[in-house]
């Protein structure tokens, strides 16, 4: 604090003033990205006064100065006190040379470069600025605004009769106008004079190359010079420039695609993109069907990770909820044979991929996806989108979806890997369908019989009706209804089956069809012959892999399934 020195007559006036303790000089550091200066200023100064000092010290004009302190821009009318600027603190300075020119020190480079009287030079091209409503995303596409501002200048010049002395100002103005008014751009484009010029690629090229900013740009981005040599591409770009919306779209596509590419290399990414293609129409269709069903919060957490839809250039995929297609059984054929080990490796990423069954993975927890059966399904689907559509259009899928929608409890059942393996096994599904049909027949033929089948399930029944409820045409192991050796797992399974059948039969209770153990009898025998003596583990593995012995073996040899 300054001491009072009012008693000493030789002290100069400054100190006398300060002595009053009303005003104090403080030293503030002013820092630019390149420079640093200490400036002494009165404590109670205004920002404007401060800027005056700065302008002298840094040799810059007042309106070029932007001061920042503690994350806020200092406005001329503010005082230093207001912002808490005290002795010894640092204020950041940005010296703007001209709009869109290099910051920091002096620099009138943009001004000088646009000093050329030719209308074709454009002042604000130093940074690859699009700044317009016609955003050019890729390097080469940046051309249009510059060119057009060139053209624009021509037209405005002719309009003004070359009245203005300062071409740079004109150009800047033009640029600004272009920025704020996309229609203007299209108007310019429609101008026959402009079109004439544009149809002459050599002339265009000439104009572009002579612009020093453009040269700078070309240095930074060699693609541009290549592009200049390709007249077709230029014309195309011009076309694009006509349509700002399309430009934006295209640009976004490219950027998104690019960032996609760059972020994650390899197959996951390809998968992801394919899923994006499939996901969008699916989800919208799914939403329609389910309305406000919680399951329909499908793409919720995925959308943020996935880029905006490429509406312009994606063919509409057929509606997966459309009329039933061919039965998927043949296409599902080798589904379960894909290795589980690789699927296990991709488990985390898989769970973020869209669920073809329309189930929100995060909603159901990872149970649904951690099942290798499900994963192999996903893999299949990724390799063959057609497959998914086939699968989805199958009638049983539809009814399952409906039941799921009506019965959220079922979702918890879905987490059971055994249930899932049944679901993913088309033969099993077919069998279930047949059961359903059989039950319906029973219902009509012997209505009295149905009520006697209590919902709770009759554990005894499966052992007798195991294989006999409905003639199982196809594949499942043809052994008779051998009840499981282990009671508890099959009881669980039975309940599961009951629930599933319940939904198929539309609420009519049913008995269980075939226990997995029965289905896999053959495989179980094979496994034990190979030396896998743990029957229960074998069974689990087979259930998880849907009966695929090889996959089951890998499971048994590898880590425990989740």
């Amino acid at each position: 604090m300054a001491e009072s020195s009012g008693t000493d007559p030789t002290v100069d006036s400054n100190v006398v003033e300060n002595a009053a303790k009303d005003r104090t000089m403080i030293v503030v550091t002013v820092k630019t990205p390149k420079d640093k200066e200490e400036i002494a200023i009165l404590e109670d100064s205004s920002v404007a006064q401060f800027k005056e000092e700065i302008s002298k010290r840094f040799n810059a004009k007042l309106d070029q100065l932007v001061l920042i302190f503690a994350g806020k821009i200092l406005k001329d009318g503010d005082t230093l006190n207001q912002h808490g600027i005290k002795d010894g603190l640092t204020v950041h300075l940005v010296i703007k040379t001209a709009p869109k020119a290099t910051s920091g020190s002096t620099s009138q480079n943009s001004a000088s470069s646009s000093g050329t009287p030719q209308a074709n030079s454009s002042s604000s091209a130093s940074s690859p600025v699009p700044n317009a409503s016609t955003p050019p995303g890729t390097g080469p596409a940046i051309q249009p605004p510059n060119l057009l501002s060139g053209f624009g200048d021509l037209s405005s010049l002719s309009g003004m009769g070359m009245g203005s002395a300062n071409f740079m100002e004109l150009q800047q103005q033009m640029q600004r106008q272009l920025m704020s008014n996309p229609e203007m751009l299209s108007q310019i484009m429609d101008n026959p004079l402009v079109q004439n010029m544009m149809s002459n690629p050599d002339l265009m090229r000439q104009m572009i190359v002579t612009n020093p900013q453009m040269q700078q740009l070309m240095e930074r981005n060699p693609e541009i010079s290549h592009m200049l040599n390709n007249p077709e591409l230029m014309r195309q770009t011009m076309e694009l420039a006509r349509n700002p919306a399309m430009m934006q779209e295209m640009m976004r596509n490219q950027d998104r695609a690019l960032s996609n590419l760059e972020s994650i290399p390899g197959g996951y990414n390809a998968l992801r993109r394919m899923y994006t293609d499939i996901q969008e129409p699916m989800f919208s269709a799914a939403r329609e069907q389910f309305g406000n069903n919680p399951f329909s919060a499908l793409g919720g957490n995925l959308d943020s990770g996935v880029q905006p839809s490429r509406t312009e250039n994606r063919e509409p995929l057929p509606n997966p909820w459309g009329p039933p297609g061919t039965a998927p059984s043949e296409s599902r054929g080798t589904g379960s044979s894909t290795t589980t080990s690789s699927n296990g490796g991709t488990a985390p990423s898989v769970s973020s991929l869209p669920n073809p069954l329309g189930i929100n993975a995060s909603g159901l927890g990872n149970g649904v996806f951690s099942s290798p059966g499900m994963q192999s399904l996903m893999q299949q689907i990724s390799e063959n989108p057609q497959l998914m559509q086939n699968m989805l259009s199958a009638p049983y899928m539809r009814s399952m979806m409906q039941s799921l929608a009506q019965n959220p409890d079922l979702a918890s059942q879905m987490q059971n890997p055994e249930a899932l393996s049944v679901m993913t096994n088309p033969r099993a599904m077919q069998a279930l369908m047949q059961i359903q049909q059989g039950l319906q027949t029973l219902q009509t033929e012997a209505p009295g019989l149905m009520p006697s089948l209590a919902p709770g399930g009759i554990p005894g029944i499966p052992s007798t009706t195991g294989g006999s409820v409905a003639p199982e045409g196809p594949p499942p192991p043809t052994q008779g209804s051998n009840p499981s050796a282990d009671v508890s797992p099959s009881q669980q399974q039975q309940q599961l089956m009951q629930q599933m059948l319940q939904m198929f039969a539309g609420g009519v209770t049913t008995t269980q069809a075939v226990t997995p153990e029965v289905r896999f009898q053959q495989q179980l025998d094979q496994l034990s012959a190979m030396g896998f003596l743990n029957r229960e583990a074998n069974l689990q593995a087979l259930i998880a892999t849907g009966g695929d012995i090889n996959a089951a073996i890998e499971r048994l040899l590898g880590s425990q399934p989740s």
């Binding site: 550091t29 990205p33 302190f69 503690a70 950041h92 699009p130 700044n131 955003p135 940046i142």
Partner: protein, 161 residues
């Protein structure tokens, strides 16, 4: 009132003392340090930060400023941000959102909110990180290939919500 009798320094120490005695010792102390650093211009001068309101005793609401890096489309622009340090800071990362409109991957177009997952300093936050670290990382992101040429909205626009 106190300022009349105490220098800025004294005041600062007093507050530090208070911070020590409070329950949120580590948090307040940390934030005070960050406040001081912000005022002293620690760093390379390309980012700035400070309290939104000097009277904010909870040290929660901060303002940041990023100077757009040269040779990118963000050049010559100043981006204002709001940073909110919650009660669990610095154990938990701050919430960051742009006030100045910007087109940058990881920043929501509609409201300027920064996606935690897109910024590694936020996604893999450590309690040794700070507001400065976050601001500097955002600035680095502006220099990435995928961002440095993204077309930007006209200068000076801000998010209104």
């Amino acid at each position: 009132m106190l300022e009349e009798f105490l220098t800025g320094n004294d005041l600062y120490h007093l507050v530090k003392l208070w911070a020590y005695q409070g329950v949120k010792v580590p948090r307040n102390f940390r934030l005070l340090e960050e406040l001081e650093e912000g005022q002293k211009g620690v760093g390379d001068g390309t980012v700035s930060w400070g309290l939104e309101d000097d009277e904010d005793m909870t040290l929660t609401r901060w303002r940041g400023m990023i100077i757009g890096p040269p040779r990118t489309i963000y050049e010559n622009r100043m981006y204002s941000l709001k940073v909110e340090c919650g009660p669990r800071y610095p154990e938990a990362p701050p919430f960051v959102r742009f006030v100045t409109k910007i087109n940058l991957n990881g920043v929501h177009n509609s409201n300027g909110v920064v996606d935690t997952r897109a910024v590694s300093a936020l996604a893999k936050w450590q309690n040794s990180y700070s507001i400065r670290v976050v601001l500097q990382e955002l600035r680095r992101l502006m220099m990435c290939k995928e961002n440095m040429k993204l077309p930007q909205p006209p200068e000076g626009q801000i998010y209104t919500n």
